[in-house]
């Protein structure tokens, strides 16, 4: 599904990612944890194709294609989804209209016709329910004036409607109340599929008790310094990152 090899990337001339190695197979759920500023969001932005980040070296394969040869919208259409840590407000653009445009862009790229309005409406209603998104948010402009928690739910709602191959969720659990966290986790669990993979970026083990990861990785200073099973998350919760601060990439 995704294979990251020795990835180095910088922002504003400052190196942030310093040799990231990571492979994600189909149907797998991976989690990345790590201290603030260690480069987790940078990794997600680089994978999604944000042009304010510069890829210095390394290679990323996504479903057999060189990711860095694809512009961001093509990556999205090929099934790469990023749930933003800070979702962006798009005033004036109706949320479900936006999703329809997104969905149809992906369909057009696959040579499929536009989705018919009835199926689209059905899908939107159903998926909004999956993630507990209030119907009124479908008609409002994308994220505009949404509360912090509503924005996060809306990201998962987009994920549920667009049905990507790989979903990177950057701190989707931050700022959610307990019920919202459960709703978001339920949404993700519903979307789990042998053909769909997840990369969860989180600070809290709580999310991982709802969405059980296959692998947990620890990122420190732009490198993945340790990888393990879900028990690694529990260990981090107990002892913090201090023990990893001195570790070099394995």
């Amino acid at each position: 599904m995704l294979r990251i090899e020795d990835l180095h990337a910088s922002v504003a001339e400052t190196p942030i990612l310093k040799g990231v190695q990571l492979s994600i197979g189909p149907g797998e759920v991976h989690a990345i944890m790590g201290p603030n500023g260690s480069g987790k969001s940078t990794l997600s932005k680089v994978l999604a194709g944000d042009e304010s980040y510069t890829v210095e070296s390394g290679r990323v394969d996504f479903e057999g294609q060189n990711l860095f040869e694809m512009p961001p919208e093509e990556r999205a259409r090929a099934g790469l989804f990023l749930g933003f840590q800070y979702p962006v407000e798009i005033p004036g653009v109706n949320n479900s209209y936006f999703l329809k445009a997104a969905l149809n862009a992906a369909r057009a790229a696959r040579g499929e016709p536009e989705i018919d309005p009835v199926s689209f409406l059905k899908r939107v209603r159903e998926r909004a329910q999956w993630v507990g998104l209030d119907d009124s948010l479908l008609k409002r402009p994308v994220n505009a004036g949404f509360s912090g928690g509503e924005k996060k739910r809306n990201e998962i709602f987009h994920l549920a409607v667009l049905e990507p191959r790989l979903a990177i969720l950057d701190e989707t659990d931050s700022g959610l109340d307990i019920d919202a966290l459960r709703a978001v986790a339920d949404g993700v669990n519903r979307m789990r599929d042998p053909q769909r993979s997840f990369l969860l970026i989180t600070h809290y083990q709580r999310l991982l008790s709802y969405i059980e990861p296959d692998y947990v990785h620890v990122m420190v200073r732009g490198q993945i310094v340790r990888s393990g099973g879900k028990e690694l998350a529990a260990e981090l919760e107990r002892s913090g990152y201090a023990a990893f601060e001195d570790e070099e990439a394995a």
Binding site: E73, A76, R77, G92, A101, A102, H158
Partner: protein, 500 residues
């Protein structure tokens, strides 16, 4: 004189998303360039006008000679040589009925998507199938009557007979001067006087054609009325004159559209539009202005200098202006409302889009005279490339206007670092009970917004068009439904490759 042959070569100019830029090679008759009293006599004679009209024009001309072009607007252009312009151009084969219209003219309008045959189906409506339950060929869609003005003359007006059955007069102003001179004489120049401003005075002297609408008492006009202005000939000015009168308790919705060929000279379109709404009457006037804007270097394009004003003469009358301005090298217009009747209402909804080297100085004036008069202003300006745009609005509350209210909102969106947007709201309040609210915003489309859209699979171009359309939505909603779709498409074409 035959049409300038070099015009054909201009058809080959880079298209830059302007699909109406073609030229129709048709035999035309011109007034020789230049302006003096004989030019005015020539025009009046061509139109077989009554003698008082000629006198009226000549007086306007004498006024104009003593006036100077306004300098206060925030636009830059070289002085216009009024002696280099031809003030009259008309297709040689003047039609008596549609069957006699030069096929080339029919073709021109067909190419522009304007129906000159009284077809049941409206141009611009996608659906080709009749709605279920209606007989083939019939439709539940509203129909639109069209007055087609080609350079200086109206070539045809559709649905005239059908409209006449409900007492509605819809014809060219030239025709109205012949068939309803008393009505024209009573109203022309009463809202925009012959000395109102430099360009209004010029227009009063040399106006060529435009539309005349009269809605009798209590009549709701049975269909949308529209006028389609086309500048075709080179080196000519177009001087549109439109007059709309809505008698007590009547209502009408009117729309005008405008296009011109691409040329590397500037052309002048100086219009005067007057609206009169009597007691309880409603006039909705919509414009989709798509004059040729000039090329990227600012060569060519139409100077659109327009005086549009509506008089809410009667109590509870309402005039509503909606404009979508995407064309012209320079746009200079302030559709206004004089709210004389008590409880009368004025509205102004505007989308102005400028790019390349386009300049627009546009807005409105709301003059509150009657008691409890209300006005609403909603202006949306979108600028890209090197374009400059100014909103200028005046809200004036006179001492007689107790209980007057105004709400104004002016939003600007900037799509490049080189374009500009300026807002000048003027307030002149002379009654303490007036309630006024003004809001203004300026926004840009951020890189984060574009990236967010791309991350969902939406291309940059689609993202921009979605965001700009969203920005303008409230104004589009004010357009008659059939035209809202057109306006949205026009906006998309206009803004192609406009970010950066």
């Amino acid at each position: 004189m035959a049409a300038d042959k070099s015009d054909e070569a201009l058809e080959g100019l880079a298209q830059r998303g302007y699909s109406a830029g073609f030229y129709t090679d048709i035999e035309q008759e011109f007034a020789p360039p230049g302006l003096d009293e004989s030019t005015i006599r020539f025009i009046s004679d061509k139109k077989r006008e009554p003698a008082w009209m000629l006198e009226w024009r000549l007086e306007a001309y004498r006024n104009w000679l003593g006036m100077t072009a306004p300098q206060w607007q925030k636009v830059r252009f070289a002085p216009i040589d009024f002696q280099a312009i031809s003030y009259y151009a008309a297709p040689k084969r003047g039609p008596a009925s549609l069957d006699e219209v030069d096929p080339k003219l029919l073709e021109t309008y067909a190419k522009l998507g304007i129906p000159l045959h009284e077809q049941k189906m409206l141009a611009g409506v996608q659906e080709q199938e009749p709605a279920p339950g209606t007989a083939a060929g019939e439709t539940t869609k509203p129909r639109v009557a069209v007055d087609a003005v080609f350079d200086s003359v109206s070539v045809t007006t559709t649905f005239k007979e059908e409209l006449a059955r409900s007492g509605v007069i819809f014809c060219s102003i030239s025709e109205a001067l012949r068939d309803h001179p008393e009505l024209v004489r009573r109203y022309i120049g009463t809202v925009v006087s012959r000395r109102d401003n430099f360009f209004a005075a010029l227009n009063s002297a040399v106006f060529s054609d435009g539309s005349f609408v009269y809605i009798p008492e209590g009549v709701e006009c049975p269909m949308e009325l529209s006028t389609y202005f086309r500048i075709n000939a080179g080196h000519t000015g177009q001087f549109e004159r439109t007059l709309i009168i809505a008698e007590r308790g009547s209502s009408v919705s009117y729309l005008e559209g405008c296009t011109a060929p691409q040329r590397d000279e500037h052309q002048l379109h100086a219009a005067v539009v007057e609206l009169i709404a009597h007691e309880d009457a409603r006039i909705k006037y919509s414009t989709v202005q798509n004059w040729y804007p000039g090329d990227e270097q600012g060569r060519g394009g139409v100077y659109n200098f327009v005086t549009k004003r509506g008089l809410c003469a009667g109590a509870r009358s309402k005039i509503s202006w909606t404009q979508v301005e995407t064309g012209s090298a320079i746009t200079w217009k302030y559709p206004s409302c004089v709210l004389q009747g008590d409880d009368s209402q004025g509205e102004f909804y505007s989308v102005a889009v400028t790019r390349g080297r386009q300049q627009a100085d546009t807005g409105t004036k709301m003059i509150h005279i009657g008691r409890n008069t209300r006005s609403q202003i909603l202006s949306k300006g979108v600028s890209a490339d090197d374009a400059d745009q100014t909103y200028r609005g005046l809200v004036k509350i006179l001492p007689s206007a107790a209980g007057a209210r105004n709400y104004s909102q002016c939003d600007s969106m900037l799509l490049s670092d080189r374009c500009g947007a300026h807002t000048f709201p003027y307030l002149d309040v002379r009654h303490p009970s007036a309630q006024l609210e003004h809001e203004a915003t300026t926004s840009r489309i951020s890189d984060e917004q574009i990236f967010y859209c791309k991350q969902r699979g939406i291309s940059e171009e689609d993202a921009v068009s979605m965001i700009v359309n969203g920005f303008c939505k409230e104004v589009f909603q004010e357009l008659p439904m059939e035209f809202a779709v057109e306006a949205q498409k026009l906006l998309e074409i206009t803004l192609e490759n406009s970010v950066g």
